[in-house]
């Protein structure tokens, strides 16, 4: 089962790398934001993988379960709780970014980052 864990870690690393690449190098702002959501997903997957126990059970104590058997076999639930929060934070950050993009599109009429987010100090001099 160690193979599965290794594969999961590789998947999360791949998601983070894909996301970082797109956040840094892709010019289109919406694709940048999609890439950022992939970085967050990769981080979440990594933290869930910490709590995973190969061959274990879901960490919910059902009536009739032996407590010591449960303690030995259940997955570690703390990371799962953390990831719940982190998913929701990621979604809200994404929503705020998209809202800002929609406002800026009305002003510039393009989604290109190099036009939209050019160095603002230079723009001010250009305006004068």
């Amino acid at each position: 089962m160690a193979q599965t864990q290794l594969a999961i870690l590789l998947t999360s690393a791949a998601l983070v790398v894909i996301g970082l690449y797109s956040a840094i190098f892709i010019d289109n702002i919406i694709k940048k934001i999609i890439g950022i959501s992939f970085i967050e997903e990769g981080a979440n997957l990594f933290i869930v993988a910490i709590g995973y126990k190969p061959g274990g059970v879901v960490p919910i104590l059902m009536p009739g379960m032996d407590t010591s058997w449960f303690a030995a076999n259940a997955a570690y639930p703390l990371p799962f709780g953390l990831v719940l929060t982190s998913i929701v934070i990621g979604a809200s950050t994404l929503a705020v970014m998209l809202a800002l993009v929609m406002v800026l599109y009305r002003r510039y009429g393009t989604l290109s980052t190099s036009v939209m987010l050019a160095d603002t100090s230079k723009q001010e001099e250009y305006d004068e």
Binding site: L15, I33, V58, A91
Partner: protein
């Protein structure tokens, strides 16, 4: 075996989403990636996280992106 298939779906749809010319397709592929991740969370013994990820990753995030695309422009120029 299912988990390996899911991992391949996640990574492939992530890469495909970023090379699309049509941003609406990119939004839908993001939803694919998020949904597959939700099933993967279920396999990793985290059903509560899987439920949240299924709602947020497979429905809310693609819908937000699709709305933003609808209000702006569809082609990646």
């Amino acid at each position: 075996m299912l988990e390996f298939v899911l991992m391949i779906i996640i990574i492939l749809s992530a890469i495909l989403a970023l090379i699309q010319k049509d941003l609406l397709k990119a939004a839908i592929l993001t939803g694919f990636s998020g949904g597959a991740l939700a099933v993967l969370f279920q396999i990793l013994l985290a059903p509560d996280v899987a439920l949240t990820q299924a709602i947020v990753g497979a429905a809310i995030v693609p819908v937000f992106i699709a709305l933003a695309v609808k209000k702006t422009q569809r082609e990646d120029s």
